[in-house]
Symmetry: C3
Subunit: 350 residues, 3 copies
Amino acid sequence: MSLKTESGNYFEDFYVGQELIHATPRTITEGDVSLYTAFYGSRFAINSSDTVAMNMGFEGIPVDDLLVFHIIFGKTVADVSINAVANLGYAGGVFGAVVYPGDTLFARSQVIGLKETSSGKTGVVYVRSQGRNQHGEMVLDYVRWVMVNKRDAASEAPTPELPELPGLVDPEHLIVPDELNLGAYDTDLSGSTDLFEDYKIGEKIDHVDGMTIEEAEHMMATRLYQNTAKVHFNQLQQESSRYGRRLVYGGHVISLARALSFNGLANAFKIAAINGGTHSNPTFAGDTISAWTEVLDKTAIEDREDVGALRLRTVATKNQRNAEFPDKRDDDKYDAHTVLDFDYWVLMPR
Amino acid sequence: MSLKTESGNYFEDFYVGQELIHATPRTITEGDVSLYTAFYGSRFAINSSDTVAMNMGFEGIPVDDLLVFHIIFGKTVADVSINAVANLGYAGGVFGAVVYPGDTLFARSQVIGLKETSSGKTGVVYVRSQGRNQHGEMVLDYVRWVMVNKRDAASEAPTPELPELPGLVDPEHLIVPDELNLGAYDTDLSGSTDLFEDYKIGEKIDHVDGMTIEEAEHMMATRLYQNTAKVHFNQLQQESSRYGRRLVYGGHVISLARALSFNGLANAFKIAAINGGTHSNPTFAGDTISAWTEVLDKTAIEDREDVGALRLRTVATKNQRNAEFPDKRDDDKYDAHTVLDFDYWVLMPR
Amino acid sequence: MSLKTESGNYFEDFYVGQELIHATPRTITEGDVSLYTAFYGSRFAINSSDTVAMNMGFEGIPVDDLLVFHIIFGKTVADVSINAVANLGYAGGVFGAVVYPGDTLFARSQVIGLKETSSGKTGVVYVRSQGRNQHGEMVLDYVRWVMVNKRDAASEAPTPELPELPGLVDPEHLIVPDELNLGAYDTDLSGSTDLFEDYKIGEKIDHVDGMTIEEAEHMMATRLYQNTAKVHFNQLQQESSRYGRRLVYGGHVISLARALSFNGLANAFKIAAINGGTHSNPTFAGDTISAWTEVLDKTAIEDREDVGALRLRTVATKNQRNAEFPDKRDDDKYDAHTVLDFDYWVLMPR
């Protein structure tokens, strides 16, 4: 391999406290927003209509929270997970300043934990990644941990350091945009009259529809996010992999599930935080994704009469109908159809 | 099914005079325009070049008329046709105010007719749908009728009410934008020297080229239009349908045929009205679409020396060459290759 | 065939000195830029971030040079190569004024050479094509030559006239944008610390990654460029062709190779000139493209301390790994895996 070619970091290259400045800042444009709609068909009015968004107090259409997530995540891949075996989890994800088309996003990560695995061939790396806009304001802050290959199995294990990970984002830490004003919220245009008060803890919602994924779609999306993980793009290489196929980027499934969740959650206009997420099985082109959601909790927001937060758990499955809310098996493991278990806070008008 | 999930309207839910306000207004952007070009490869100069459009009197590139149609149509699906068995026809479609990137489109429909079908299991619903921009100006007004499932075959039939449908849009009702000025129209840049006077009633034009459709293309397009009809997206469900395949949204074929028609109609710069249209056979991914056009009529426009209107009938076929203008069979029915028969008015410089 | 339908120029229709004004000027938008990212996943910071681009002296994100190339090339197809058998080569390609979203591009070509081939059925046409922006400034000027069918094999051969073609663009003719200022160039954000001085003539760089191409991707890209060559789109027609498949537009492969070359050439921020290029084998959907680059030459730029130029040769192959820099065979011919041999000048900070 040429010395000029970046092969990315192996487990030995990380140390706790390490700061990673990720390359290629990204100006998000209306073109990215249109592509996002074309990939997932999302219908949340706030992300579709200038008029609706301005009526809610924003200066224009905010960029979908998950598009922000994918852009920031994508930047981290070349430095954090290009040599990863598995993306193990997310925690403590908080969305900050609202992102508009024209904003430029920058990403940095800090290594906050390291632990070699028992095999001695890999290690788990915990990073806290932060996205900022051109004004230096935080737009997204989250932790993820990945299992990364060692360059050399014989190299010595570092002293294990494990970060404290929050089980969920404390509702007090949710960031509600100052400019948000739901005084003139219009449920005709949003697509549903079900608001904060109408949802009950424990309630389950079947999102009914399904979407079949094509190779061209997930690859275009993942390239738009400038995510360089080879497993998504290189069929020649994947043919000799465990699955023999290209893998769909897990975030693509999160966005599909969120778009499907419009039917039943049309007024969940913003993701405020990501408590955690598990990609429980790989997704491939040809799979049909369905989703259902359980309301885990609900909470008022301090000093706000017009908006509350729902803690949701959205489960996405492939190639089966969801009418009976298929969930983990009795042994608390996922069956082969479940591809995503995603725990997050949304904002909803009261 | 959860009570929060919208299952859409069944035949029993409609009544004549009913007003439907469709959700999710849509701000059209330059991103949507680029995707439209990527889906169909349209080459009409007015929709491609600021310079050409401004030279024709517009303030910038107008959004393609069919993109406006698809956006408005898409909004109506969740309320009108999510439980439809078939999209039966269009009539009286008139384009109004020119739409520019940045405009936000809103859609409403009125139910103007109802008739149960003889089977007792379905009924035909006639709606007049109207798209407006953020200034309240009409951008598109058209009638369509669909065959919709009844929730319960045992429910009583309503008194049949059938609207009067125009066979075609009267040329006097065509809306020519006030700002249009063809004084400096440049046929080098438009791609053809054939203008209004050069077309003869009865003339047929073979558009020569063909386009093969991929699943990713029609699904991305249909999601961009926020059209939620399941038959386009859900292979798992479609496997047990009559065709075993996802169906291509009929409007996708209209746009392909229009783009192909550039070769032979390069100066037909604007669709002014839709007289009617029939999707005579389903289209699937893998089909290659070709098109030919017959000039049905031509007319001057009152008080305009610079522009006339041609009434065109564009026929799209799949998986055969069009050099011999394949048309209906002797019994006036369509053969299995014909997928679209579209009757419309275009504006053309004189 | 209808008289209205353009069948394009055959060999007999060309004459040396002929001026061709190509139809459909094109305003490039942020939507096009987003699609370009989605097609190729390019990560060069200058084309991704407003902040980075302005820091380099530009007024915003410049449009990728190859997107400019594809748009201009696409305009020439209907007049120059719609009846072509083969695209034989490029020479003397120079990029001029920087293109920004919002600029409108116009294309013209001059026929500069003609020679009937020995078969008597085809001839080689040499054209010099030029793209200009709405201010009349040259944005791209290049020569290409194509083998075009004769309408009638019996028609008389013209007197052969062959243009003088430069083997490469003289470095003195490279156009460095006046506004370029690399005083504050940031290698953290660009993704590599390897600058002009770090590259040696003769050095080879393996770009490691591979991209598998889907039909939907190359067709959407080629339609975005309004390139109408039938071989890319019409499977029905291609089934009876030599390959039985749709062909991928050669420029799509150039853009993929350039995007892959980021890994090893992250600071090669601009293509200044195209010396030549050979599409040595056809590319089809399903092929996985990899690339490697050889540094052919390097040169300072007159009156500039901050930037130099590298002459690069990027070779793209399909369906094999590039770790051993697979090149021409001993007989100087390409093996069946090599799809592109591209010779160009890039600018790089010193």
